[in-house]
Symmetry: C2
Subunit: 515 residues, 2 copies
């Protein structure tokens, strides 16, 4: 037998668009996806990021939806100063245990040229801290604005940038500067303030699950994990694909602690002077990181339709110039038809990608960005009155050819199906990787024993188990890098033994490694 | 004749809601209006303001409208770091004449307790400047992103806070921190970049005139008033009620200057390496100050309907509790009917003011805020199926009683009429107080001789006169506190003599005092 002449083999297309894959190196995969999806990148300024159009578009849609919810629940937007005088922190530092010290401090207000070099000049009498959060500066204003019960409730929200000096920055998840909203409210009674705290907690859950397709566990932080000064801290905890937890939003009831320290007092209906009950709550651009860690795969991002600034992308496939006019005209009218459809009460967001690039390059660009639906349109599709459809969340299912009218009629249903499919997949992961049968320390330690960095492979996740509430017992968790994420609201009340101490208790908590 | 017993006189209602009046003290009147309208206030942080809900609501509507215009003209939003390394300014300081030095400088990243007092700690290797504008940091990113002509045009906008240390802060107009948008674009050719500069200049004009009802003069800054490094600076100049100018927006063509200094280079269609042509353009929250100075009167603010977060306010007038249910039900259904009307493509924004306060107090609150239309509804109005209407811009015309259905049917037309009336009044002022017959220095000096602080009374305004362009001649203006605001686009080309030098020239410019 003679061997056939060897044919030069075509270069193999890479199996996945992102290298390394999740399984190979989860942390690096994450960074690569954020860059490949062109959502954000680190800037030349230490620990600070640039949020690029595809990522910022998601943030804008998140803002729009949240802002509507805040206004519907009676909140007004304001804007407060970026700077907080150092003296505002003095009191806090003396009284608050968890006082955070890593903050950017402004000490000068001028640049001066000295021996050919610019140097800071004009030293401030009192240094100014860049806000890490605005409780103090908003509280000072509230103390002035609130005089009578008639001024309550005072329901304020702010969209702003904040700065927390991070020693180990991580793109989108933990950066020196990030964007967020912070709600700050003052109320007559504990009941009113608790109702507000719970209301905004639920607003966050609904928003994160419905808009971001990220399932969460609702619960309360144990005392040692509370926001400094808070009486109760409620949180929503999401599971990332490596089984780690990410706190996706918090809502704090601050009792009268904060009002007392800053002087938010009012004349009550009975004529007495009372301290207000206050709350605060916030979510940030770290949700963009949560989206990637929840939905992306080894081909890049999968953007939930609700927050995709382009839900359908049309890519004209042209082999020569003579076809151009006809194909482009078909694409333009297709775009108009899709845009005329409504999803989530808004016109479907559709982009015709007319860039001067090969169709295949454009296809991969949008796959990596995670546009929910791709349409490729070539001369044969024009002739056949059809479209070639790729659903980003079903990439392995390949392309489908549909009659144009059928596709247009079903586009809103299809987007809803994608949104639901992303949520379902994330919920399935959360269920699969939450273990509930760990009853003692030996089993607990064995579960979390494996190297944290390979946890996408190891399949670690949430441990839902008993904890008797003893603060001294927490030290056992430190070597494992595990924390208590929350005391979930849905408690079955059955008695068991604390996995840390063996003491009997009915309280279930969620243990996990976390971002 | 015996004298009649003296009756105790009722306290006279103040003639105007704002004291002092514009004529008595314009500068103080301005501060009082901003506070009375509850738009903004100075914070406890030097030079920094708090933008309150009524003012922030205007800013949000301005943002929404501008953002739509930016996106329609092809721009994407991004977010860039707040911090700029000191070294980025070094080059600028060496090369740029108008380099601004008053900037907030971060030198430390930690607070530490020392002898019971918090002090800055953790000195940074390189100080960070809080952005006064983002040309440098966005330019650095553009230099990375732009490789080929295919990457151009690069059309970016950012909504952000910026800081410029102001020695004499003035609420809304000149504060250490303010909010703005900054557009930054890079193009292949001079023609493309100039077209962008002109396009955004026109976007600003249309926005300011249509949305804010503030008429402006379009023109170009003379060389000495250009943005540092710009080849051309286009501006829109508005006239405030005291006759001073306020620069309401600028659009700069930066030529290749900026691209050369920062290295924004691309491979051209011909394969050569070229420097990009860049532009930048911005408007800020100082427009809120311009609104007050343009439209307010001695009773407070008059908010243009297009940017009023409440366009119609319903005030229930209750004398006793028994009437409450009926009046409130009438008001609620009235609100729904008004809301169902459309103005400017959106539902009419209507508020039912149900606060526990006397009706008269609420009326004055909304007059001072400048809500365009007030409706007072008492039991007699309910019985008669009518509404009692006050148009804020026609306060002296008093209240009008209209059949409810007639009011509702006409509400959008009425809002449009108010918007137009505000614009017309401002335009009339601008025309009346622009003089065009000053031909020499003696007349010019006499016109501006009066004390600047009394200019609301003195009737000074814009002088449209000849200037031959000699930079040395400008020193004559300094003692008067007058500047050249712009070289207006509409030039008649007639020859005359420069009012500063007497030299013959065809060039008209606008001279004025300015904010």
């Amino acid at each position: 037998m003679t061997s056939a002449p060897t044919k030069p083999q075509k270069a193999q297309a890479p199996k996945t668009a992102i290298t390394p894959t999740r399984a190979e190196n989860y942390a690096e995969w994450y960074q690569k996806v954020v860059r490949a999806a062109d959502m954000a990148e680190m800037s030349g300024v230490r620990g600070c990021m640039i949020i690029k159009p595809w990522g910022y578009g998601m943030w804008e849609l998140m803002q729009r939806d949240l802002d509507r919810r805040f206004k519907e629940t009676g909140h007004d937007n304001c804007y407060f100063p970026l700077f907080i005088p150092l003296s505002y922190f003095q009191r806090e530092a003396e009284h608050v245990d968890g006082f955070a010290k890593e903050m950017a401090v402004v000490t000068h207000h001028r640049l001066t040229m000295k021996d050919g070099k610019l140097v800071p000049d004009g030293e401030l009498e009192e240094p100014l801290v860049i806000r890490p959060t605005s409780e103090t500066v908003i509280g000072e204003a509230m103390a002035k604005w609130v005089q009578s019960y008639r001024d309550l409730p005072l329901l304020i929200n702010q969209w702003a940038n904040v700065v927390r000096w991070e020693m180990r920055p991580r793109l989108l998840l933990r950066t020196a500067e990030f964007l967020w909203q912070e709600g700050h409210t003052a109320h007559e009674t504990k009941d009113d303030a608790m109702a507000e705290t719970v209301r905004m907690h639920e607003v966050y859950r609904d928003f994160v699950e419905e808009q971001l397709a990220v399932p969460v566990i609702m619960g309360e932080k144990p005392a040692h994990e509370r926001f400094p000064g808070a009486v109760n801290t409620y949180c929503i905890e999401a599971m990332m694909q490596d089984g780690r937890a990410l706190q996706a939003g918090t809502s704090h009831y601050l009792g009268q602690n904060f009002a007392k320290s800053i002087g938010i007092q009012f004349q009550s209906r009975e004529g007495t002077q009372e301290f207000a009950h206050t709350t605060s709550w916030g979510v940030s651009t770290r949700l963009l990181g949560a989206l990637v860690m929840t939905h992306a795969d080894d081909d890049g991002m999968k953007t939930p339709p609700r927050i995709a600034s382009q839900q359908v992308v049309i890519i004209p496939i042209l082999r020569d110039e003579t076809q151009k006019a006809e194909v482009m005209a078909y694409c333009e009218s297709l775009k108009a038809e899709v845009q005329a459809q409504s999803y989530g009460g808004q016109p479907v967001r559709v982009k015709l990608d007319a860039r001067d690039l090969p169709g295949g390059d454009k296809r991969w660009d949008w796959i990596k960005k995670g546009a929910p639906i791709l349409l490729e349109v070539g001369p044969r599709d024009v002739a056949g009155g059809q479209v070639c459809v790729t659903r980003r969340d079903q990439l392995s299912a390949g392309k489908k050819f549909l009659a144009r009218a059928d596709f247009v009629a079903a586009v809103a249903t299809e987007l809803a199906a994608i949104q639901q499919a992303l949520f379902d997949a994330a919920l399935a992961l959360q269920k699969t990787r939450t273990v509930t049968d760990i009853k003692d320390w030996a089993a607990f330690e064995a579960y979390f024993a494996k190297d944290a960095d390979s946890s996408f492979v190891s399949g670690q996740g949430f441990v839902r188990a008993k904890w008797a509430g003893d603060p001294d017992s927490l030290a056992k968790l430190d070597p494992l890098g595990v924390t208590i994420r929350c005391i979930p609201f849905d408690q079955d009340g059955k008695e068991g033994n604390c996995v840390l101490t063996g003491k009997p208790t009915t309280q279930d908590v969620i243990f996990a490694r976390a971002y």
